[in-house]
């Protein structure tokens, strides 16, 4: 539907110009926003409508700002869109008293314009949200793959959650860099927090370990729970000569013995950690 009759449009322009203060006051009431904020948008809208090219860039910019600031203050996108629609209501109240066909056509045109702008704030909100989510995913990737030194010459990499290609890449890079930085000769990769080990996860683990070996470090995989061991055997994955241990404590004891810190064969106290939820 395209309603863009010059007469009606001019009528609305006239209304917006004549009753600016009244409209903004009414708009501020329905939109629950400050009049200052709205005046800026109102003026941008007026000059956009008056211009021949109908360039709404300024209005969109201001609305995007409004949408973002409201999102930060915890408003829902519907609230923001409704705030924009508030102007329609204010204008309608004026139009009602002067219901000529031209004015009504003009109002419908104006109404479509405001609908578009309302939807635009919605889009801005969604885009801003998506951006935050992407940033958080990246942060999580960084945060969730720490490499910690648990003893002189022994590093630990506790893995929690899903191990996909992107994660593995980060883990591998961080581990290899840490091996160079610390000169460690042992690394323990703990998979207590990995809910399921399938062939892809296993392959990623194997690659990481081979890469660490190339750099002269010996890797131990720890945190293999009974059900994971069951699945690995059934799948037919072979870890070859890679040392695997049930708990991080066992792996640490193994690494300590290998590095000559621990010489007795005394059984270390065992600490079992359970993490079931995917």
């Amino acid at each position: 539907m395209s309603v863009d009759l010059p007469a009606g449009r001019r009528r609305i322009e006239q209304l917006l110009a004549d009753h600016q203060d009244q409209l903004i006051k009414r708009w501020a009431q329905t939109a629950k926003a400050s009049a200052d904020e709205l005046t800026e948008i109102y003026e941008a809208l007026r000059s956009a409508i008056a211009g021949d090219d109908r360039d709404l860039t300024d209005v969109r910019g201001l609305l995007a700002e409004l949408s973002r600031s409201r999102a930060r203050r915890g408003f829902t996108p519907s609230d923001t869109a409704r705030a924009v629609f508030g102007l329609k209501e204010a204008v309608y109240e004026l139009v009602e008293t002067d219901a000529t066909p031209d004015t009504m056509r003009g109002f419908i045109w104006f109404s479509l314009l405001m609908d578009d702008l309302g939807l635009f704030t919605f889009e801005t909100f969604a885009t801003a949200r998506e951006k935050i989510i992407i940033e958080q995913t990246e942060q999580l990737l960084e945060l969730s793959t720490p490499v910690v030194a648990i003893w002189e010459g022994i590093l630990a990499v506790p893995l929690v959650g899903t191990l996909d290609s992107a994660r593995t890449q980060v883990v591998m890079e961080k581990l290899l860099q840490a091996l160079v930085d610390t000169g460690a000769e042992h690394a323990v990769i703990d998979i207590t927090g990995v809910p399921a080990v399938d062939t892809q996860v296993a392959q990623h683990l194997l690659k990481t370990i081979v890469a660490a070996r190339l750099m002269g470090a010996e890797c131990v995989i720890s945190g293999i729970r009974p059900q994971i061991a069951h699945s690995i055997v059934t799948l037919g994955i072979e870890f070859g000569d890679i040392v695997t241990k049930a708990t991080l404590a066992d792996a640490l004891a193994h690494a300590l013995r290998r590095s000559g810190v621990l010489t007795t064969e005394r059984k270390a106290t065992r600490i079992a950690i359970r993490a079931e939820d995917a």
């Binding site: 399921a196 062939t199 059900q227 069951h230 699945s231 799948l235 994955i237």
Partner: protein
């Protein structure tokens, strides 16, 4: 009882969602911890196959009942290139890609019932069932 649910497999994120949902259903069906992990691993394997080799697909997760026993049935379907030689694809250590070559054969061992239908150009449908003890 949980109703059957169709889930899309279009990204790595979807594989994670499938895994989580299958775990939830397996817990509800009273599968033991080992069996839960097995069916979840098989789901992960088959979903990733659909994603990697067929560019995506869908899975139908449903609960099944057979007298006393309850279980989970998963039907993975894709419209990818299909598997030209099913026998070879089911062999341990053989992979047309860069994987370990254990996905299909390993999945068959992880579940109780395994059915694979595929023809070149026709896509692939894999149906697996895991029963509680």
């Amino acid at each position: 009882m949980t109703a059957a649910r169709e889930m899309p497999i279009a990204s790595n994120g979807d594989v994670v969602l499938v895994r989580q949902y299958v775990r939830g259903v397996a817990v509800e069906m009273g599968l033991s911890l080992v069996d839960q992990t097995k069916v979840v691993t098989a789901a992960s394997e088959l979903a990733r196959n659909a994603l990697v080799y067929a560019g995506g697909g869908a899975v139908r997760v449903e609960t099944v009942e057979n007298g006393r026993r309850r279980g989970v049935r998963l039907t993975f379907s894709d419209e990818g290139p299909g598997i030209p030689d099913v026998d070879r694809a089911m062999t341990d250590g053989w992979s047309s890609g860069t994987g370990l070559g254990l996905g299909l054969s390993g999945s068959r061992r992880l579940v109780d019932e395994f059915d694979l239908e595929s023809a070149p150009g026709k896509g692939t449908v894999v149906t697996v069932t895991k029963w509680g003890r």
